[in-house]
């Protein structure tokens, strides 16, 4: 059974609509949630957790409806939203004392082992922690109330490459026993390459694709060729960049036959995202 099942989640704002967002995640895996700024990643996460009013849709945690069992479901979820910066002057100890009261399943032993593993000192104040340490502290709290599902909104943004790598190591070890999952949003493609099992790609409030990383990548190809090959094939290109000597573009794998005269190569995640975001024609219009 899916640990997280989001079905047709809707949220309507005057200028933005989250349009029937659906995806699901099995226990034991990491899902990267990607899309540009404003694509609806944070809105989706907030609507999933009832932090903002939703206009439609359902969310199931381990088969139970989140909205009908909100309190019980929240005990199974660890949620870290943006920067963890409340009460900057409080010590970790103080914040932990407050937090543990909310969770009947609080596991003090686990908490202490995460503190030592992440090298966190309880006597320190939040403002004294680096961005990476704050995320780790938030994770320590979530994992100590035995959360099965971690929902993290851009946990790696603002971290230097070393701290980021370190945090991704933590992610992988969190899911290693197969019982927990992580959904995290990010702009950083290398985060996905290093640890995402599944990718959900959202664009303009709609889910474009939600699948495992291998299928995601194999669904596309990069093509390059001479300009003479371009015109008739343009409708099949998801996005393309033209230059004086030819063009490079992204196509769906099933369209590869039409590009036999061009060079065809496997697509990397970064190119998939860059070309897909051109789809609305900004780039081609300017040429």
């Amino acid at each position: 059974m899916a640990l997280l099942d989001v079905r047709e989640l809707e949220k309507r704002y005057p200028t933005f609509t989250l349009d029937k967002v659906s995806f699901s995640l099995e226990p034991g895996y990491i899902m990267g949630f990607i899309g540009r700024n404003g694509a609806g990643k944070t809105t989706t996460m907030k609507a999933m957790l009832n932090l903002i009013h939703r206009d439609g849709g359902q969310v199931y945690i381990n088969g139970r409806s989140f909205f009908e069992n909100e309190r019980a479901c929240k005990e199974e979820i660890g949620f870290v939203m943006g920067e963890f910066d409340c009460y900057k002057n409080a010590t970790l100890q103080k914040i932990t004392d407050v937090t543990r009261r909310f969770y009947p399943d609080w596991d003090e032993q686990a908490y202490e082992s995460y503190l030592s593993r992440f090298a966190l000192e309880e006597g320190k104040k939040i403002k004294e922690l680096s961005a990476g340490m704050r995320v780790k502290y938030a994770l320590a709290l979530a994992l100590s109330h035995n959360a099965k599902l971690l929902i993290l909104d851009e946990p790696t943004s603002g971290l230097d490459p070393v701290s980021r790598d370190d945090l991704l190591d933590v992610f992988r070890s969190v899911i290693e026993d197969g019982s927990r999952s992580i959904l995290f949003s990010t702009h950083i493609i290398s985060d996905l390459e290093k640890c995402a099992d599944y990718i959900t790609y959202i664009k303009g409030g709609k889910v474009l694709s939600s699948t495992d990383v291998i299928s995601f990548r194999e669904g596309y190809r990069l093509v390059s060729g001479d300009r003479e090959h371009l015109e008739v094939r343009r409708p099949k290109l998801i996005g393309c960049k033209e230059h004086a000597f030819g063009f490079t573009g992204l196509i769906r794998a099933q369209d590869a036959g039409a590009f036999a005269a061009c060079k065809i190569a496997p697509a990397d995640l970064e190119s998939i995202m860059i070309y897909t975001e051109q789809e609305d024609g900004h780039e081609t219009a300017s040429l």
């Binding site: 190591d169 992988r172 290093k194």
Partner: protein, 126 residues
């Protein structure tokens, strides 16, 4: 079991894993009945996601190199000398066909290419 991944390889990660395990099974470094570590452990150790490891293991199983048992894990499949020989030939034929295409592309004759292979064979004699 030795595994090392290259970020600059054009091959996807699951393919690199598959190739490396294949050659270790074929050259006898991994033997029938040897246990493979759990998929999740391999992923964590190599700092990669679970899916490529899972895919590599699935393909190894489909090709007859490994067997999996629910609850016990994966093991190198038992292989008679016949099967081992066939798998070796299939792997070698795969590499040689690239080499043959390369020779053909350079305009060498069949005999010239065969002679080159013989020379190469002799020069690598230990």
């Amino acid at each position: 079991m030795d595994l090392s991944l290259s970020g600059s390889s054009p091959l996807p990660i699951y393919r690199q894993l598959f190739d490396q395990l294949c050659s270790q099974i074929l050259d006898g470094r991994l033997k029938s009945g040897d246990a493979l570590p759990p998929i999740r452990t391999v992923a964590r150790e190599l700092s990669i996601s679970v899916i490529p490891v899972k895919r590599a293991w699935e393909e190894l199983e489909a090709a007859g190199f490994i067997e999996s048992f629910v609850g016990r894990g994966c093991f190198i499949a038992p292989m008679g000398t016949d099967k081992l020989q066939k798998l070796k030939q299939a792997m070698a034929a795969d590499k040689l066909s690239d080499a043959a295409a390369y020779c053909r592309g350079l305009g060498l004759s069949r005999e010239e290419a065969a002679a080159l292979l013989r020379d190469a064979w002799d020069s690598t004699e230990p």
